[in-house]
């Protein structure tokens, strides 16, 4: 099966940018709230593309090994 990194199937539910450095409570990056509403959509699109790319790359490696 050929896996496209731009497939439209499925949904990225959310992308949590950054990593929480605080040992007492959970923080979330709100910098993106400054951008327009469309930016949240772009961020999830970016996250989804990255995930597809990373998984396709891993699959390619496994295929080569086989």
């Amino acid at each position: 099966m050929r896996l496209s990194i731009f497939s439209k199937r499925g949904k990225v539910i959310s992308v949590r940018p950054g990593s929480n450095p605080n040992s007492s409570s959970l923080g979330v990056d709100v910098t993106w709230l400054l951008a327009s509403g469309a930016f949240a959509g772009l961020l999830t699109l970016f996250g989804g593309t990255l995930v597809r790319w990373a998984l396709r790359r891993r699959k390619g490696k496994n295929d080569n090994r086989a």
Partner: protein, 398 residues
């Protein structure tokens, strides 16, 4: 591209994707982010990940993962700083020694569960070497360790060793006098020195700032100072009624006016000084009240009280809780990690949400705001967060 992108394999299994009731989770080290995808997405990339009860993902559904994304570990509570609002009620007589074997066991259990991140903290009497040793253990287990510290005993020699941490944040509650207004003592100059040392030896340094009534209107000088020191990451934390903080909460809680204008103000300041701003979970009611659509907030991973779900905490006594500020509910210990039913009061909060939360469009995101604040003010963990601007508005109407 491979160097710019690095996935963090799921600790314990080494897989790239962690199976979840709603689909799956992937954590990236570079760029730093956690991505939640649904079942159809996984199928589209050729993955079938079985969970016992597959759950469709939607804006009104709670996203409760199969295991926490992160754990907060307060490994010791000895500290002679004497901050008046210390949430762990630190003990000046405690030498702050760390039971490394116990904590290595906790880390192993967290890795077995597939937890991605651990945030380590301790009172300032604890030798940083102990935290560094635990961070190495965490790395060996596939976890990403982060550190928050007040940096009182930080030296360049120690700072060099902090590279084992993914991110290091210094506690700094304001510029000059504003910092002291929260802690009740002036240690601004030593904090600034610690910040400079950290900046020199670590490339992912930021600041954690507790926001209270006394410093809420003084954030701009801090942001200006941080921009001047090229510190771009700032996490703002709401003052909590925990530990010694409970005694002074009434005088430290933000006023209604401060709460209402907070989000607009910090976002404007963040843009002006080009900072990357993070808000802790207890500020979620304020973000929701700012009028941004629930769908947008959900896509950005905004979350209110996700105690016992997205995160868990273990304190220096080995007590397990859904949140570092809440050890009053139950008597769970770290041995209960992964056991079901321990955090039901958190996970079922929305099912018994009071008004106005029950009919609020943001309920699945906010989950009622900070239950620790609610319990302190009203006596009930299941009350609405009294600091929420929407709750205040509703109370004014009824």
């Amino acid at each position: 591209m491979g160097r710019l992108i690095e996935i963090q394999p799921v600790p314990g299994s080494g897989k790239l994707v962690r199976a979840e009731p709603f689909g799956g989770t992937l954590a990236f080290r570079r760029p730093e982010m956690v991505v939640l995808v649904d079942h159809d997405f996984l199928s589209s990339v050729g993955l079938r990940m079985g969970t016992d009860k597959p759950q469709a993902a939607g804006p009104d559904l709670l996203l409760d993962p199969v295991a926490p994304f992160e754990a907060h570990l307060t490994v010791a509570h000895g500290c002679d700083a004497g901050c008046r609002g210390c949430y762990i009620d630190s003990d000046a007589q405690d030498p702050g020694q760390v039971d490394l074997e116990l904590w290595r066991g906790v880390l192993a259990k967290l890795a077995e569960l597939g937890v991605y991140h651990v945030a380590l903290g301790a009172g300032e009497s604890t030798p940083l070497e102990s935290l560094i040793a635990l961070a190495h253990t965490a790395r060996d287990l596939g976890l990403t360790p982060n550190l928050s510290t007040a940096g009182r005993h930080l030296t360049p020699r120690l700072a060099r060793k902090l590279s084992v941490f993914g991110r290091v944040h210094l506690s700094l509650d304001g510029a000059a006098g504003a910092a002291g207004s929260v802690r009740g003592r002036d240690d601004f100059s030593s904090s600034l020195m610690a910040l400079e040392i950290l900046r020199a030896y670590h490339d992912r340094v930021g600041v954690n700032c507790v926001v209270a009534r006394t410093n809420c209107d003084e954030l701009e000088p801090l942001f200006r100072l941080l921009a001047g020191h090229k510190v771009r990451n700032v996490e703002l934390l709401r003052f909590k009624p925990a530990g010694r903080g409970a005694r002074i909460f009434d005088q430290m809680a933000m006023t209604a006016e401060q709460g209402e204008s907070f989000i607009g103000r910090v976002l404007r300041l963040g843009r002006r000084y080009r900072l990357r701003l993070r808000l802790d979970c207890s500020f979620t009611p304020m973000v929701c009240a700012a009028g941004i659509s629930p769908k947008r907030l959900s896509r950005l991973g905004l979350a209110g009280c996700v105690g016992g779900s997205w995160l868990v905490s273990v304190d220096w006594r080995g007590r397990l809780s859904g949140c570092s500020f809440d050890y009053e509910n139950g008597r769970a210990s770290y041995r209960d990690l992964g056991r079901s039913g321990v955090f039901d009061h958190y996970l079922n909060w929305t099912k018994q949400a009071p008004e106005p939360c029950a009919s609020c469009d943001y309920l699945s995101i906010c989950r009622g705001g900070c239950h620790v604040v609610a319990r302190h003010v009203s006596g009930s963990f299941f009350a609405a967060d009294p600091g929420c601007p929407l709750v205040k508005k509703w109370q004014g109407r009824s």
